[in-house]
Symmetry: C2
Subunit: 376 residues, 2 copies
């Protein structure tokens, strides 16, 4: 047996692609005493979380709730419920997560029509429109709003309008966008959306907020085959998360303490105000951008397509061992930034400014640490 003593994590500053820094209030909420998942007090909390998530997503969708598992499971919840064998889904890929969407479509027995854009660029509405025209059999359009692997922001409003013009439902990955940049589920007519707790909501990882509109629910209700996942089957989950005035039916045991934390993070978002949170992310992004420029670092993503909360910068030629550089940031400064993923591995660093971590203090720490190590 290895050492089996209590674990004391180091105190890091988390400026990677997530998890992001978790405020003390949220950590304290996490450690409140566990109660039963069918306790009336917990049921009240579930209702509050649903209402707060509606605010965060800017939606009146009745079916808005947190999936009891990480963002990947939120993605899968959307696909396994909405995609039936025989469906054609137009999947936009401009980074790592579009590829995961393709995997999901195919494992549901659907056909994925790929619309490819360069890693680091927004999804091209012109290409999407061409694909919609070329594939009238398509009934779903899926894309990533904020690509965590590159830092590119796509024009979700335009993409959703195109989908609607071609009678397609939309599945939108808002893992990194929720709480960080404008996202209007109802105004833009998004049919299904998923996010994660560990990005701009500043919560520990493990929970995936989702929301489904009426057209999405109608497609789920009209399924002729069972959803392949029992755990993620919305027909069952709906009975658990919606009391409809009656008794909730037991589906699975909700991660009670994780819900305390999610609730507290949503309360903090409500206190700040969604628009103020978006504006803070933008302001902090500009401060970081100016500081990075002074250090001679350049962005992967063109300015108009940049996510404020995820800054991908090109690794300078002077850095010969980028992994060692990130290790030094971690060891000497307790600062975590992200490596590049996939085709961008070894080429970019990803610097997160998410939620609570989008702060002057974090920017100062990051710029100082980069300055120190780049001078070596």
């Amino acid at each position: 047996m290895p050492a089996s003593s209590s674990f004391m994590p180091p105190k890091r500053t988390l400026m990677g692609p997530g998890p992001s820094d978790v405020p003390d209030r949220v950590l304290a909420a996490l450690a409140q005493p566990t109660i039963g998942h069918l306790d009336p007090a917990f049921q009240g909390l579930m209702e509050d979380i649903k209402a707060l998530l509606k605010y965060a997503f800017q939606t009146e969708n009745r079916l808005t709730f947190p999936v009891s598992a990480p963002g990947s499971a939120g993605m899968e919840t959307c696909f396994v419920n909405l995609v039936e064998p025989g469906d054609t889904v137009i999947v936009c890929q401009n980074g790592a997560f579009g590829g995961r969407m393709k995997e999901n479509v195919e494992r549901c027995g659907g056909t994925a029509v790929m619309v490819m854009d360069d890693w680091g660029r927004a999804v091209s509405p012109a290409k999407v429109e061409a694909a919609l025209k070329a594939h009238p059999e398509a009934n779903i359009l899926a894309f990533v709003h904020a690509e965590t692997s590159t830092g590119a922001l796509s024009d979700a409003e335009t993409l959703c309008r195109l989908a609607q013009d071609h009678d397609c439902l939309t599945i939108v990955d808002a893992v990194t966008s929720l709480g960080g940049v404008p996202l209007y589920v109802d105004k833009w007519g998004i049919d299904a959306v998923y996010s994660g707790s560990q990005k701009c909501l500043s919560c520990p990882p493990g929970i995936s907020p989702v929301s489904f509109g009426d057209r999405a629910i109608a497609k789920i209700r009209a399924r002729t085959t069972k959803v392949q996942s029992w755990f993620l089957d919305l027909n069952l989950v709906m009975d658990y998360w919606e009391s409809n005035g009656g008794a909730r039916s037991y589906h699975h045991t909700a991660p009670v303490n994780a819900m305390y934390a999610l609730h507290e993070s949503l309360v903090m978002l409500k206190e700040e105000g969604l628009e103020n949170a978006w504006a803070r992310h933008q302001t902090m992004h500009e401060k970081l951008r100016d500081g990075l420029k002074e250090l001679g670092l350049t962005y992967l993503v063109p300015a108009p397509e940049r996510l404020p909360q995820l800054n991908s910068v090109m690794i300078p030629d002077t850095v010969t061992d980028e992994a060692a550089f990130r290790s030094a940031l971690l060891t000497d400064h307790n600062l975590e930034i992200g490596a590049g993923l996939g085709t961008l591995a070894g080429k970019v660093w990803r610097i997160g400014l998410m939620g609570y971590g989008a702060s002057d203090k974090n920017i100062a720490l990051c710029l100082n640490a980069l300055r120190t190590l780049l001078r070596r």
Copy 2:
């Protein structure tokens, strides 16, 4: 918007079917600062958790790790990876969770051959043997070791031997048994097993420890179809949880803080010693049983088949509104006990003595509260 103020849960004593009481040490671990899921410190924690889970499961299985989602997802991990379309699975049902196994088999395109026993009784080895003989095409036997819905303990050792005699793999639900009663994954030759964090491990709900042996892994590697779930695909998860000396490949973001808590609960189990924990559950069960007898309460399950950690008692005729009775326990005594599930709804109460909650203090509270309310 509803009230969006911080949530302060009531302080309950949890003696239902789970979640069970969480010790302060585990809650404190949960609230440690979040670090990155690829941080070297977190990777070290992952290795410690795997080693401690091997101890808890009594296995040397390399593929022993916690699924980042509740027990239902642990169950689904076993079925979606091991069952391919065309497989025949003998599923034992003696309570609610055997029915869920059937759902899983069918959603994987398999055929479930059901072996039915009364709710409240152990699985009958004779019936299982007959089914194995009648269905030589079956390649998997699935059963629940400790039925949380009834409090019955089945003879996992004998059932596994029967499966081996008929060249079947075994999938065993150990959600409520792990840490509470003897469970020997290697000695009994269990091929795939799943559990939950919120029962005898005394952790908050949300995580499902699993373990897979070599024969199970061989079947997964020999699949001709992709696992229908991307999130639960062990081919991908293995690369994340097994470093093999190289870099871990990113699969999903692990629920970092939940892993802190799981680790601490496993450290506590190791400190006490597995055999001591099993003995404590048995001792406390006998104390509770004697007290319940004094109150005139009788058990659903015959003595030799009883789970120490889950005590299902018949609701006495004098209690005309059992839901109101449980509400009074909750309101007047802050005590949660469980209702009956499925066919046992309204007929039994389920009193848990799980993990940290298997204590003299909890038994005294429970017996006193029942005595007070039954006298009314």
